[in-house]
């Protein structure tokens, strides 16, 4: 065990050398690195948001809203079928997850027609095959209609995928440095924004669904503050963006929607110098818009964003070119953001911000500095203590500890794992715990010598005896690190990573590098000294 073949020695040294090569870039600046020869790796440790500064946002797609909207669409279709077949119904209502109404009779063919309705309804949205995606239940006279679980799942999944894409587009439009946007679980999105410590603007951008519609203003009646809910059939009351007290009555029918936009750009009105957003419709949108404006010259139409009227200009002449502009008393930043939102498209459902963690760049820098300071002082303390307790062997363990730290850094850089503040704590904890494997071995060797073994045999037996203890002891810590890795997210996860890497490197160095050093030392002793004790 104490004799190493040349191949073994070279492979141990090679592994250590490779780790060192990958650790080295962390001690130089980016500029210095670029001037190095190309065979030296350039990757540095990837710093977590808590160290480099940045913002973490956890969003959830409002899935209740998706189903609610689908049910509202279904509502009018079901009513139409009932009316067409002269079925008397009452108490028709929408809840969050079903439609309910009371009927005297509900023949099977009507039920079939309704369930077929869902097929035609679904085909243009989702591929569900020929199966119905409605569950129709009848209890006495009350009928309830809801979507099947598969349909709900598919609808939510599609909405989340679509939201992810739109969130990505909106953030990309802002030109953020290396954003990371990922889906988490069934309905969540995690956004990591390095270098952004005040995500107010991004939050504002993500907080809007940005559903843009053009609808005609209902001029048949005026908004009556005494009767705030009364709107003619087919019309709705919407608030004004500019004036909180003012309300518009607009026709529910949508002339053109945001999905027909192909471009939107911020700019200034050449006459008033007011910030505006100019937009262009696709061919379908342009012809729809042209037709409606032609028929309604002289009447006002409303530009509506997320159920709020931005402005309601009067149509002076038919707009046939397929382009137009929105002005609504916003400043140039707002115009810019609105253009971004319109270009990126509307979210299928509102996003809710569940969690936000933002760290400013100087707190991150302070944390790195404090972490380095603590690491160096802890390291020196451990090194001196080991030399004090084990003298020469302690010195060997210290060399192994240094190599250990380089290996942790090298592995972090190689795999581009993220180093966080708790991750630095994990490295410092490793400094304290990494010597354990060597301590276990040295204690064994000491015992062997005490019981009269020769140095070489003592080293050999010490290693043999300590092996299973070292494995058992490190596997328990590794189990804890693995569980932490799977349960935690963000900075705390970084701790489990460095802890686990530290366990591997410390066991590795104890069984290869220190062992090599000790065997060289033991063999170098003069035969007369071979029986000597370690602590004299």
């Amino acid at each position: 065990m104490i004799y190493f073949s040349n191949i073994k020695i070279s492979s141990i040294l090679l592994v250590i050398f490779i780790a060192l090569m990958f650790a080295i870039p962390n001690f130089f600046s980016k500029d210095q690195l670029n001037s190095f020869p190309s065979f030296i790796p350039k990757q540095q440790v990837n710093l977590g948001l808590d160290l480099q500064g940045g913002s973490h946002l956890l969003l959830e797609v409002d899935t209740v809203e998706i189903i609610k909207e689908r049910l509202e669409n279904l509502n009018s279709d079901v009513r139409r079928v009932l009316k067409k077949n002269n079925i008397q119904y009452s108490n028709f209502k929408n809840t969050d997850d079903n439609l309910k109404f009371v009927v005297e009779e509900f023949p099977a063919e009507i039920q079939k027609e309704i369930s077929e309705l869902s097929i035609s309804n679904s085909q243009n949205i989702l591929q569900m095959g020929d199966q119905t995606n409605l569950v129709i239940l009848r209890e006495e006279n009350e009928v309830s209609i809801s979507f099947t679980d598969e349909f709900v799942k598919l609808a939510v999944s599609n909405a989340v995928a679509q939201s992810l894409e739109i969130v990505r587009r909106r953030i990309d439009e802002l030109g953020t440095r290396e954003p990371s946007i990922q889906r988490q679980g069934s309905s969540r999105i995690i956004i990591q924004l390095p270098g952004i410590d005040d995500p107010d603007r991004i939050k504002a951008l993500l907080g809007q669904t940005a559903k843009l519609t053009f609808q005609l203003v209902d001029t048949s009646t005026n908004y009556d503050p005494l009767n705030p809910k009364k709107a003619p059939v087919g019309s709705e009351i919407l608030p004004s963006d500019a004036d909180d007290s003012f309300k518009y009555i607009v026709k529910k029918r949508v002339m053109v929607g945001g999905e027909n936009l192909v471009d939107a750009q911020p700019g200034f009105d050449p006459q008033t110098n007011e910030p505006i957003v100019s937009f262009r419709f696709d061919r379908l949108g342009a012809s729809k818009f042209g037709r409606v404006t032609q028929q309604n010259v002289g009447k006002p139409f409303a530009i509506i964003l997320d159920d709020t009227v931005i402005s309601a200009p009067v149509i002076r002449e038919a707009i046939l070119g397929g382009s137009g502009q929105i002005s609504g008393g916003f400043d140039s930043d707002e115009a810019n953001d609105l253009a971004i939102l319109l270009r990126a498209g509307a979210l299928p459902a509102p996003l809710i911000i569940l969690e936000e963690r933002s760290v400013g760049p100087d707190l991150g820098a302070d944390s790195i500095e404090a972490g380095q300071y603590a690491a160096i002082i802890g390291f020196v303390a451990v090194i001196l203590f080991m030399m004090f307790v084990y003298r020469y062997f302690g010195f060997l363990a210290d060399i192994a500890l240094i190599i250990n730290l380089f290996m942790v850094l090298g592995i972090l850089s190689l795999f581009q794992a993220t180093l966080t503040l708790p991750g630095i704590a994990g490295i410092i904890l490793t400094i304290g715990m990494a010597v354990d494997a060597n301590v276990l071995i040295f204690e064994r060797v000491k015992e062997e010598i005490r019981s009269g073994s020769k140095m070489i045999n003592a080293v050999e037996n010490g290693y043999k005896r300590a092996l299973s203890t070292i494995l058992d002891a490190n596997i328990t810590t590794l189990i804890a690190a693995v569980i932490l890795f799977f349960m935690a997210s963000g900075p705390v996860r970084g701790f489990s990573i460095t802890l686990a890497i530290g366990i591997f490197t410390s066991v590795f160095t104890a069984f290869t590098f220190t062992r090599l050093l000790i065997s060289i030392y033991a063999k170098s002793l003069k035969p007369s000294l071979v029986g000597m004790k370690i602590n004299d």
């Binding site: 956890l58 569940l354 603590a374 203590f385 708790p422 304290g432 715990m433 204690e443 328990t476």
Partner: protein, 308 residues
Amino acid sequence: MIDIANTKIDFLKSRIITFIFSSILVVLSFGAFFVSGLNFGIDFKGGTLIEIETENEIEIAGLRDNLNSLSLGDVQVQEFGSKNNLLIRVEQQSGGDQIQQNVVEIVKTSLNSYLSSEVNFRRTEVVGPKVSGELIQSGAIAILAAVFAMLIYIWFRFEWQFSLGAVVALIHDVILTIGVFSITQLEFNLPIIAAILTIVGYSMNDTVVVYDRVRENLRKHRSKNIIDLLNLSINETLSRTIVTSVTTLLALLSLFIFGGEVIKGFTFAMIWGVVVGTYSSIFVAAPLLNYLDVKREWNTTSAVDSTR
């Protein structure tokens, strides 16, 4: 040179006293937990945390009154490391996740108008009710899963008696850590869960080293009285136990003193855990084997043996 080898301390002599001592600590921990509870941070309670830095010293009482008049519920303001650094905590708002988001803006606006000097917002954390509920749950599951995994691992590598003894010591350490956080009312947040998991790993590590020696001695000295055998095993591993605890504590103390305010609580938990974990390996885990009727006839050709 201090030589801690060849000690012959009778650790088990005072086992009744140390058991009573540990039991009192456990009862105290439970008491503190049920009386005052843990001071949950926003990770588990939800709410908003803002760390600010200003050029001039800030009069905390005035700022606290100002922020408490915003009708955001309870607002705590405390010094964080230095007089120019303050930590502001706003309790969770009722009305769901959406409402939480407004708090940051309201507090920022108020701070900018109240404080004459430039305010540097160093850190902003907002945790809504949904996430905080999930974090509590996954934290508790993680600790239970870790303890359970240790139980299985030790059972697999040793015998059920060892497994039981080790897990009792482990639960002892976890309870004492939760106890010290209940008594001191230090903030209990997500990194503390990580610290407890590390304590679970470390405490087990320490116990395993002692148990390994117990098993070895059970084979070596078949006729030795179990109490003498346990004492021998603890003494034989004592210098390793002390050296490793000291190096780990040296590293952690350095982190505690120089590592900055943000991870102080985390480091404190781990220092406490190392002390308690070392104590429990010697005074809880090992003496328990005396009562658990460990097997004396180890099969020398078992699978465990073949690894040596």
